[in-house]
């Protein structure tokens, strides 16, 4: 037995962990009723967002009920876009394969995690929840830190694009799951640097 194994496990450094930033475009906010329309994922590996490894897919809508035209319009998707897309059962293994042993990184985790859980259940799979880092939580922590440093109190900008703007990150085009996932990954890097979190435990 090596000495290292006898010591209490330290939380790994953030550069040793793979974070998968994920964004779902959905029909609405109700996982019981609204369908997932597209998914985008991009990993943060050794502190770098690796666009070459990104995964994104449209999702074929459920047969019973075509997606509402309003929802599709809002996301700039048109009906024929999703017609030839793989269905949910084919996309979910792509998601779980990537999350296996890694950390899920989401902006507003509660909503997307609920959608994922419901999706996995509806296709008869088990949802094994990965560790989750939520950039909204980090935004609150940053607001606290700033207050502590004597800055005027104020509620943090929670909207992804407004928060990015506040942190000096560039404006990206909206309504694309992969771009949003990338935007989330960058926001994560900026917040991590500002909060000075070196280890995974500090980010969860």
């Amino acid at each position: 037995m090596r000495l290292r194994d006898l010591l209490p496990a330290r939380s790994p450094r953030f550069t040793e962990v793979v974070f998968w930033a994920l964004d779902l475009e959905t029909e609405g906010l109700d996982p019981g009723r609204d369908a997932i329309l597209s998914v985008g994922m991009v990993p943060v590996r050794r502190g770098l967002v690796r666009l070459g490894e990104a995964f994104s897919s449209l999702v074929h809508p459920r047969e019973e009920r075509p997606p509402s035209v309003g929802a599709l319009g809002a996301h700039h998707l048109r009906p024929f876009d999703t017609r030839n897309a793989p269905d949910l059962a084919a996309v979910l293994p792509e998601i779980s394969r990537r999350l296996e042993g890694n950390v899920l990184l989401v902006h507003h985790a509660t909503i997307d995690v609920r959608f994922l859980k419901a999706a996995f259940r509806s296709t008869g799979r088990s949802w094994r929840p990965p560790p989750v880092v939520d950039t909204v939580r980090l935004l609150y922590r940053w607001a606290d830190a700033r207050r502590f440093l004597g800055n005027p109190p104020g509620d943090p900008e929670l909207n992804l694009f407004a928060a990015r703007d506040q942190l000096g990150l560039p404006a990206y085009p909206p309504h694309d799951a992969l771009v949003d996932a990338t935007a989330t990954a960058e926001l994560f890097l900026a917040l991590r640097a500002r909060l000075g979190c070196e280890r995974l435990r500090q980010l969860l």
Binding site: L51, G52, L167, P170, A171, Y172, T182, L189
Partner: protein, 611 residues
């Protein structure tokens, strides 16, 4: 009225891939070659202060392009260049040799193309060409920086020497698409339209006035252009170009020689030559996102002033640049305050006084400011009180201490009618406090807000007619005595002299008096002295001597203040005579003599009896 407030920048919303595609040399790659790069693209984030590469360290493992933030290249501890959006660094990925330290100046988001892919891209001609040309340009710029410490002595360089190509022009009838294509092909950020008079279209115009306004590619370029083109003569020194840009909030200046436009200089050109000059500070103010960026302002400004002093630029020029920067900051703070509080209920102006009001601010000194609004009821009053509190607090955060005398917008916000009544009362009843107040408030100007201050200025006309008031003002200006004793020897106090009491304050006082007397609204002391000479209030020789004396006093004080700060002492007005060179000592004495001579003029004209 010039369009001094820069329009908020609407940025094109490009995702990383599209951004890379739009950035030379990636725009010239075939689809296949571009896929190579895009397929391996990485994104990195570095907070301010990170040293990404070191000249004595390992070569870069990727080619970087700046997406957001600023990066400075350092050679031998001196900044040699500042990189911004769309600029590359990490050339050592190809050369194997890091030529400069790469340090993050402002939080950086950068895209990376890893080494293996860069090597494969070198097989493509446009990519290789860009690299070799880029290197040559970088080498060309190098000696200018490494040869001279800090900014070098070349802030006096004629701006024409920075022009390296004739202006790129398009016909008057060209469309914005034509303009965009020419700008892309020529790799320039502006084109001149051959209209009458000529007009200019910049990349910002294409973004803000075309894309963001939803106009189509066929829109006539003339419709989104600016005219007349802001032009400076070929021989204008670099600092003059800085001033023109800062004053008008613009990034492109046409350069004219013998009535012909010979080229265009951009803020980026100026930034590359003087990386710690005011252009960097100006860009940083324009980019400020939130209040957490404020504390850095004071530090940046102090660093810039120290560089400018070392470069030998006259203190009055430095002061004017600092004042324009402070104005840009104030305008930014007003935007934030209006965002927090909602639109103002009526037009207003944010006034600055004292040295700031005279464009003579150098180091960050106490705030002297006020708000004047058109008219208003109690809710209006309360709005501007809240606005004042926000802006004053933000200025404190940026490094401007509160005024100990309380001459700040938080105490001094009122409707125009009240201000007019106050000014009039001071002139009509020149008591001690009135003279004191006049000395502060009459040196005012608007740093932000659009209210027309002409009615307030008109009140000052009364002073001309009011001999008792002018006489009181003269008495105050003559209360300061230059420290000259018998045989014109310097009278020392603790081994030195007080530059403010002995020289700066009396000149300022006289200049203010003469300006009011001549009915001139200019606030800078040097401008007032020129106007007074033109109006015949003093002879040319005395006027010029006083002007020189003033510039000398300010420069000497600034130099001593910067030395004090660097040695951890509080900056003041005292200068030790032993520390001066013989020629400086002689200059000092002559300057005090000029003050004494000018005071004699005033005694006669305003019939002041001296003790």
């Amino acid at each position: 009225m010039t369009n001094a407030v820069p329009a908020p920048q609407a940025e094109p919303h490009l995702d990383p891939r599209s951004f890379l595609r739009a950035t030379p040399p990636f725009d010239a790659l075939t689809a296949e070659a571009f896929e190579l790069a895009a397929g391996a693209l990485e994104i990195a984030y570095f907070p301010q202060g990170t040293r990404i590469l070191s000249a004595d360290g390992a070569p870069s493992d990727a080619l970087y392009v700046v997406r957001k933030g600023l990066v400075r290249l350092e050679r031998g501890g001196e900044t040699s260049a500042v990189l911004e959006e769309g600029d590359f660094f990490g050339y050592s990925v190809v050369t194997g040799q890091v030529s400069a330290d790469v340090v993050v100046e402002e939080d950086l988001l950068a895209y990376r193309v890893p080494e293996t892919v860069v090597r494969r891209l070198l097989a493509f001609a446009p990519f290789t060409r860009f690299f070799t040309q880029g290197l040559a340009a970088r080498l060309r710029h190098q000696p200018a920086f490494s040869a001279e410490p800090a900014l070098g002595g070349d802030v006096l360089l004629p701006v024409g020497s920075l022009v390296d190509r004739p202006p790129v022009t398009i016909p008057a009838g060209a469309s914005v698409l034509d303009a965009a294509r020419v700008m892309r092909d020529e790799r320039v950020s502006s084109v001149l339209l051959l209209s009458e008079p000529p007009a200019i279209v910049t990349d910002r115009d294409l973004r803000n006035r075309v894309l963001a306004a939803g106009l189509g590619p066929e829109t006539p370029a003339l419709a989104v252009s600016s005219s007349p083109v802001r032009t400076v003569p070929h021989g204008t020194p670099v600092y003059g170009a800085w001033q023109a840009m800062l004053e008008h909030g613009i990034h492109h200046l046409a350069v004219e020689r013998e009535k012909k436009l010979v080229g265009v200089v951009t803020s980026t050109d100026l930034l590359r030559h003087h990386s710690h000059g005011p252009v960097l500070a100006f860009k940083k103010v324009e980019r400020m996102r939130g209040r957490e960026a404020l504390p850095a302002y004071g530090t940046d400004l102090a660093r810039m002033v120290a560089m400018l002093v070392r470069s030998g630029l006259a203190a009055t020029h430095i002061a004017r640049l600092v004042s324009h920067l402070n104005d840009a900051l104030v305008r930014r703070l007003l935007v934030w305050a209006e965002r927090d509080l909602g639109a103002p209920p009526c037009p207003y102006a944010f006034l600055v006084f004292g040295s700031e009001g005279r464009f003579e601010q150098t180091l960050l000194t106490d705030q002297d400011n006020a708000i004047v609004y058109r008219d208003g009821d109690e809710p209006t009053r309360s709005y501007f009180r809240r606005l004042a509190h926000k802006v004053v607090a933000d200025l404190v955060a940026a490094g401007f201490p509160p005024c100990p005398g309380g001459y700040m917008a938080t105490n001094h916000a009122g409707p125009l009618s009240e201000w007019i009544a106050r000014f009039a009362a001071w002139i009509d009843m020149p008591k001690m406090e009135a003279i004191l107040a006049a000395g502060i408030f009459f040196d005012h100007r608007s740093a932000g807000g659009g209210l027309d201050l002409a009615p307030l200025a008109a009140v000052l006309e009364r002073a001309r007619q009011n001999a008792p008031f002018l006489s009181q003002l003269a008495r105050a200006a003559l209360g300061f005595r230059p420290p000259l004793g018998a045989f014109r020897r310097l009278e020392l106090e603790n081994g030195g002299v007080d530059l403010k009491k002995g020289g700066i304050a009396p000149i300022q006082g006289l200049a203010r008096l003469w300006a009011l007397d001549a009915g001139v609204r200019a606030t800078p002391t040097v401008d007032r002295l020129k106007a007074a000479t033109a109006a015949g209030l003093l002879d040319l020789e005395t006027g010029e001597a006083l002007e020189e004396a003033y510039i000398f006093f300010l420069g000497l004080r600034l130099r001593e203040q910067i030395r004090a700060l660097s040695e951890g002492r509080a900056p003041g007005n005292h200068v030790a005579v032993d520390a001066l060179s013989p020629s400086e000592r002689r200059h000092l004495k002559e300057s005090f003599l000029a003050v004494r001579t000018a005071q004699k003029y005033a005694i006669t004209r305003y019939q002041v009896t001296t003790a």
